[in-house]
Amino acid sequence: MDIAKLTIEGIRAGLKAKQFTAREVCEAALNFAEAENPKTNAYLHFSPERALAAAEAVDAKLARGEDAGALAGVPVAVKDVIVTKGVRTTCGSRMLENFVPPYDATAVQRLEAAGGVIIGKANCDEFAMGSSNENSAFGPVRNPVDLERVPGGSSGGSAAVVAQGTAVVSLGSDTGGSIRQPASFCGVVGVTPTYGRVSRYGLVAFASSLDHIGPFGRNVKDAATLLEVIAGRDEMDATSAFAPVPRYAEAMTGDVRGMKIGLPKEYFAGLASETGDLIMKGVEALKKLGCEVKEVSLPATEWAISCYYIICTAEASSNLARYDGVKYTMRSADSKTLSDMYRNTRGDGFGAECKRRIMLGTYVLSHGYYDAYYLKAQRVRTLISRDFQNAFGEVDALITPVSPFPAFKLGEKLDDPLAMYLSDIYTITGDLAGIPCMSVPCGATAAGLPVGMQILTNHFQESQMFRLAEAFERAGGVAGA
């Protein structure tokens, strides 16, 4: 068993042929993860007791001849903004350093019910705010492809563990690109499903109208299988969708002949770079598979960054108001009054990026500014959403880059928050419209840095998206061009 290369299918076959037990896979994954972690800091903590109990339950079911589930014995990492009962959930923040949740997120319950084995919690930017994973209070994550570089963010740990092979699949969260951008930087598959496709119950809230839970995998099928397990209506999240969850594997036929692909011209203007060249090579490969490619226009794109950073900071300032020293573990000592206690706890507990977003959000919502900022941004959000609806009237899927550049060096962009925000341009639009989007590996630069191709489809058209991604992967990615 080569633990770093296992797939969901490989584990299923190995368990069936009695090549190994779920407990053996779990122990191998835990040992490998603990040995590798000093290099990348991708895990914040491990959950060996819970993992071994889950693995033993899978072995017991198999011994009784029962179906052990779609994820039977599969080692999974969970981003540390998703709550796990009895297992510390820090959100990468000093504020929650000692927080032990009293319940499980719905996605966590579902993946364990399907036989998944949670081996640990993945590092991330504090409260999922960042694009490099350098905003974690517990140290940055290093990219396993090149340890001098960032893994992307905010789900940097979730991407790194899958790239490293210390977990087979993982859960991340995406508010403005936090799954797709690290997936592209680390050379793995990362999926942001339709808004409401996966319950947000137990996902620590950052910007509620934009937050998604989604999967990472080393191939399209693994990511799709994890999504299928966690998706579906949940009465604990009123925004979770009733739409039935399809069998995604059935869509992955390898046949994409006649599929209509749109290239949004606004996303390719000025993209004269290795990244742009690789994406165009990816498009050539799709043409060879029989896709029809045409240019489309998403004219509201230029307003997307402003729109996003108003809405996400406004919602964040409201969601993070709950960390005030009363209920969640941390309280600054020597606060004589209630007001001092709030201020000191929040001043001590939050890092620089959280403070910046709380301040921006409080500013745009403050008296006299609501119409000019928040309401204006909501109107612009309608325009961005309409652009996509218009495009999907003409084509089945859109292809774009995920990030303007590949993984950068640690510290390189840390001093310029605006430049970091501007780098989110290709990923935030999908979150604003609530449509499914993913990053699929699309070759590497001359320096060996992975580049991801983004695929976007209309609401609840994940099957279509997976069909295209898996056909591209099956044909060898950019090598098929």
């Binding site: 409401g196 009733f242 402003s306 209920k327 921006l360 409080t362 403050s366 612009v380």
Partner: protein
Amino acid sequence: MKITEEQVRYVADLANLRLTPEEVSRMARDMESILGHIDKLNELDTTGVPAMAQVLFDAEETATLRADVEKATLPNEAALENAPQPGGGFFKVPKVIER
């Protein structure tokens, strides 16, 4: 657009956030550059465009209301396990009312 340190302190006050003097001056610079970019939105005419207050709503009318069935809630001890300062089944905070 200019953001003064006084404005930063006012907003920090609204957000119940203690900032050091160094943080205040850095915040003024960062907010000025980010809001300067964001302000470009005002060049866009959005007259007559509805606000997108809801991302998706595919449910039947009232279908999001669950059945009104009594269910166990989080027990008091479990809810207080993460309390910085529990006491008598409550979250304790510094004195609010003088008497």
